[in-house]
Symmetry: C2
Subunit: 213 residues, 2 copies
């Protein structure tokens, strides 16, 4: 098991993303320079990455898309199923459940949790919603490795603590609150509102500076 740095992992997933998009359009081959342009990485970087793979390309046609993808996924060790759970079945939670339904065969959201009795017992996008009191038991039983947090800000740390106690090794936090997890748990924080506020701030500045000219 070689250790791949976080930035490389991210780049590899971006490659996968683009290759998937190309496959869907019916293409069979890709040139490294196309990949570089699409992903916003230098052609040299792509070539350096490719040196790690057992891939044969030709100058005429480039690389076979499917072989390229297989190599990437082999490096990302994602051939086995990773089970995930989702906490907080609001609009964003539902959007994520529906997105992951069948689209990612190796990533599966096996259970969702909510406090609202209107939601518990129901099924959204093929995923059962349980009461949050069941979280530790079910995460344990399912051996889920990742928890996705889509609860309001005030409940985010509590959700994270329960997930960590239940044994998840990775958390993706969408709640607009900074949460803390112990060492040994990977944390990714994705603040949608913050990103939109930031874009609004810079858009205003750009507009102002144009008007002042």
């Amino acid at each position: 098991m070689t250790k791949i740095p976080q930035r490389t992992v991210e780049r590899f997933f971006r490659y996968c993303q683009f290759l998937h998009t190309r496959l869907e359009t019916g293409a069979e081959f890709v040139f490294s320079r196309e990949l570089a342009a699409a992903v916003g990485v230098s052609p040299e970087q792509v070539r350096r990455d490719l040196m790690n793979f057992k891939l044969k390309g030709t100058p005429q046609r480039g690389y076979k898309l499917q072989e390229f993808l297989d190599e990437l996924y082999a490096h990302l060790e994602s051939s086995s199923l990773t089970k995930m759970v989702l906490v907080g079945v609001g609009n964003l939670g539902k959007a994520i459940l529906s997105y992951f339904l069948k689209r990612r065969p190796n990533l599966s959201i096996v259970a969702a949790f909510d406090l609202d009795p209107e939601k518990t017992g129901r099924v959204y996008s093929g995923c059962h919603v349980h009461h949050s009191a069941q979280l530790e038991k079910i995460v344990n039983k399912e051996k889920a490795a990742v928890g996705i947090i889509t609860v309001p800000a005030a409940s985010a740390q509590e959700a994270a603590d329960a997930l960590v106690r239940a044994g998840v090794r990775g958390i993706v936090n969408f709640a607009p609150a900074q949460i803390k997890v112990p060492a040994g748990v990977f944390l990714e924080q994705l603040d949608i509102t913050l990103s939109i506020e930031k874009a609004a701030y810079f858009a205003r500045r750009i507009k102002l500076s144009k008007e002042l000219k």
Copy 2:
């Protein structure tokens, strides 16, 4: 108009976020060390940031939450309304529309666009959905400054191009595709799937390395 670096802007928005959460719990004061701990910033950094503000705190009670927020928003120049539009009324688009409804008085999604005739003409979370062919006309008329892209990957660049032609100065792209915008347009890319895949990757690695011990 002073130029605030992007990292500072982000930190200020995180401060706002935390102060809002505290206000909602009924608190009136905050200590700089609480803020530092909650936001994951050093107390020295918070104190340096505070030196820019006209704020009087006391060692006994800390800073007045509302005054602190007012100062932050003044620095972020966000007292005026920023109009935004959203392209792609799928599950994620609907989640964002419902989130912004009334919650952020200075950020308003004034129109949404979709190609689906089932959606055009309808209203979601108070926002009218227009056909995408109307995008440039409406963005222009409304003087919207920010475009939020929640279309599938294959349509993302097209949506971005239309938004740029219509005159937006900031784009937040949620489509799992790298898009390009000309200089002078702020671009924030937020790839939800990528973040979840990355967390799954690192969670698998952490699990494996524990099992091998």
